[in-house]
């Protein structure tokens, strides 16, 4: 690109100094678009004390409506708003829109921690702050930083400060997906259990320990939010370094300290940021903002727990594609144990799913990384670093594989949304005049093409980010050799999906 065109173009150019002040580069390759500078009303909204309450409370009411529909409504899944709105609409929006474009925005509006957080704070909107200089730390509740909390406020055990619990819980839950995806009352049991557990955990452990370490939904949101195009970050690290108050961490009279145990000003990844905007409210220097950024900007898996989450998610996407989108009726019977009663089949399905997710897929990946490391020759990179670095491509690939799986469900079953909106309980109501419209799949014959397109996008990002990781780890010379086995494995994986969807 010529210098002239650089100056003329409003888009960001690596290394260019012609950058509008709403855009800032984090390094020479990546751009950031400061949304609070681009659209100041967004900042005003984020700084409102009642912002999160306004997002969560309507969702809580909707959740209660769904629970009521699940209990009192028709047991026919595709006629009950609980099934259609949660597992078709919400899931589709979550995986196809919220996660890729808005990170963990769902966590900012999730109703599960509503009561727990209320009990902890004894406030829905206001902040309970103390001034440590003037006020003694005694009194009711516990003081954490500059905020006062109620409940037991225990610290979460260090040994469990990872997402292994979420990994196992999610896998366990998904093993029984054929039950809760299709039966409203089972969905009620599952969602109510999560709701109740969240409340109890908030009473025992401090802040968002449940969301960070237990919630089965939060686990994959944390992983895939790394790919998201949205982030909360500090504008200028130096301002944070010089800041004495550290209100984003410790809280203040303006806001609660980060409920997710993050130090927002030093945050480098999206994984454990719930977009609650407390840090934006807390910062006295107006240094916290929300950026738009390139897809797949966070590229560092920090532990095996996160890598295994990626393996589990990819295995589940494959398994679900085979069972729910494939023509093999006997597999559906195996998964649908409550109706078929085929325990042998169910055990085989469970064993294959768990073995694939926890052993087989990681084992194959381990082999590919090992071969790559050998091909790269002598190097000082530890196997753990190589494994975690080269496991990152499973984040974009897994996310796009999930979108490819979810898209046809929406296209084919989307018309049920209009039906159940008019008749949420399946009682024969016709509130909006749409309860009797015919089931109408939308361009269902295009779905294999759309699915393959998503997979190709996923593969592209998997290969580019994987190669970038290999370069960081092994240097430019050895990167191709180190990454080749993994790249072939990823391509073979997409080929299998392509066969499944289009073959």
């Amino acid at each position: 690109m010529s210098t002239r065109s650089r100056q003329a173009s409003p888009e960001i150019v690596p290394g260019s100094h012609q950058i509008p002040d709403t855009l800032q580069t984090v390094d020479a390759k990546e751009w950031r678009l400061d949304l609070f500078r681009c659209a100041p009303p967004l900042k005003r909204i984020a700084r409102l004390r009642w912002f999160q309450f306004a997002a969560v409370f309507p969702n809580l009411l909707i959740f209660l409506l769904f629970i009521s529909a699940g209990i009192f409504g028709t047991p026919v899944g595709n006629r009950n708003i609980m099934i259609i709105f949660v597992w078709i609409l919400w899931w589709f929006l979550l995986i196809s829109a919220m996660v890729p474009f808005a990170s963990r925005i769902w966590c900012a509006m999730c109703p599960f921690p509503f009561f727990g957080e209320w009990f902890q704070r004894r406030a829905l909107v206001r902040v309970a702050a103390i001034d440590p200089k003037k006020e003694k730390k005694g009194g009711p509740g516990s003081v954490i930083g500059r905020n006062r909390y109620f409940g037991l406020n225990r610290r979460w055990p260090k040994a469990l400060s990872n997402i292994w619990i979420q990994n196992f819980l999610f896998l366990a839950l998904c093993t029984f997906s054929a039950l809760f995806l299709t039966r409203p009352i089972v969905s009620v049991v599952v969602l109510s259990s999560i709701f109740l557990t969240a409340t109890i955990f908030h009473l025992i452990y401090r802040q968002r320990a449940f969301c960070n370490y237990v919630c089965p939904v939060s686990g994959f949101l944390s992983l895939y939010s790394m790919a998201s195009m949205l982030e909360v970050r500090s504008r200028d690290r130096e301002v944070c370094d010089e800041c004495k108050e550290k209100a984003c961490l410790a809280g203040s009279e303006r806001a609660w300290g980060c409920p997710w145990f993050m130090y927002p000003s030093k945050m480098e990844r999206n994984n454990y940021c719930g977009l609650c905007m407390e840090c934006v409210k807390a910062c006295a220097h107006d240094n916290m903002t929300v950026n738009l950024r390139p897809f797949c900007s966070d590229t560092r898996l920090k532990g095996y727990d996160e890598a295994w989450k990626a393996f589990i998610m990819l295995s589940l996407a494959t398994t679900y594609s085979i069972i729910y989108l494939g023509p093999w009726g006997f597999l559906k019977d195996w998964a649908n144990i409550a109706e078929s009663g085929k325990w042998g089949g169910f055990l085989a399905y469970t064993a294959v799913l768990w073995a694939s997710a926890l052993l087989l897929v990681p084992g194959i990946y381990y082999g590919a990384v090992w071969i790559g490391k050998r091909l790269a020759g002598d190097c000082e990179v530890s196997f753990k670093d190589a494994f975690l670095g080269l496991a990152y491509p499973l984040v974009p690939l897994g996310l796009l594989a999930w979108i490819a799986f979810s898209f046809p469900l929406m296209l084919v079953n989307g018309s049920y949304i209009l039906m159940t909106l008019s008749d949420p309980f399946g009682w024969g109501w016709d509130l909006l005049g749409t309860s009797h419209i015919a089931w109408t799949p939308v361009v269902p014959h295009w779905t294999p093409y759309i699915q393959v397109l998503f997979l190709l996008v996923g593969l592209y990002y998997a290969l580019t980010t994987g190669y970038a990781q290999a370069r960081k780890l092994f240097g430019s010379e050895a990167a191709v050799k180190a990454f080749t086995p993994v790249a072939i494995l990823l391509t073979a994986c997409v080929s299998c999906f392509a066969w499944l969807y289009g073959g």
Partner: protein, 179 residues
């Protein structure tokens, strides 16, 4: 600065890399399209589809483009549907009864009771047939596959998939060579 010296990061380098990458991807995709086996001469096929919770037998119907397809239906338990994507065809299959209700989804309201559905497989590719009558818990996932040869989607997809790998590899290797 020379675009090559800058490791392909400059405008020209990027453009060249993107062009090379897209050329390889589309080239292999086209190769897949060309190499897909041609369909043999059309013929007539009579198939009985047996529907049961939650699948069909046969679960995959393979025909060639231009084949005249005659379908008869049997439901082994409850009323099922047979909605064929891409062919404007929807059938309601009552249990243990040879006649079915046939309709075109594009023309709602018009129903015909018939023993056999006949149509020409004039659209190639992979289509799914789905149950369109709520038949039980896993009803939304009751489906089968109707594959009309030549199904070019798979070879083209595989060509594109491996094209992404080969194209990316070439971009990286050639960049290294330039350096």
């Amino acid at each position: 600065m020379n675009p090559v010296e800058k490791g392909g990061r400059s405008g020209h380098g990027r453009l060249w890399n993107a062009a090379l990458f897209l050329a390889v991807v589309s080239g292999l995709g086209t190769l897949g399209f060309v190499l897909a086996p041609a369909a043999p001469a059309p013929k007539e096929r009579s198939i009985t589809v047996r529907a049961h919770r939650y699948g069909y037998d046969p679960k995959i119907i393979r025909v060639n483009r231009g084949d005249r397809v005659r379908l008869r239906f049997v439901s082994e338990d409850v009323t099922h549907g047979f909605y064929l994507e891409g062919y404007d065809l929807d059938v309601s299959i009552p249990p243990m009864h040879p006649s079915v209700e046939w309709r075109k989804p594009s023309q709602p309201g018009k129903l015909k009771v018939i023993d056999e559905v006949a149509f020409t497989a004039d659209r190639e590719g992979k289509f799914r047939y789905r149950c369109s009558m709520t038949c039980g818990f896993l009803h939304p996932f009751m489906l089968g596959e109707f594959i009309v040869s030549p199904n070019r989607l798979l070879p083209v997809s595989l060509g594109l998939t491996w094209g992404v790998l080969v194209g990316g590899f070439l971009v990286v290797v050639l960049k290294g060579t330039h350096k």
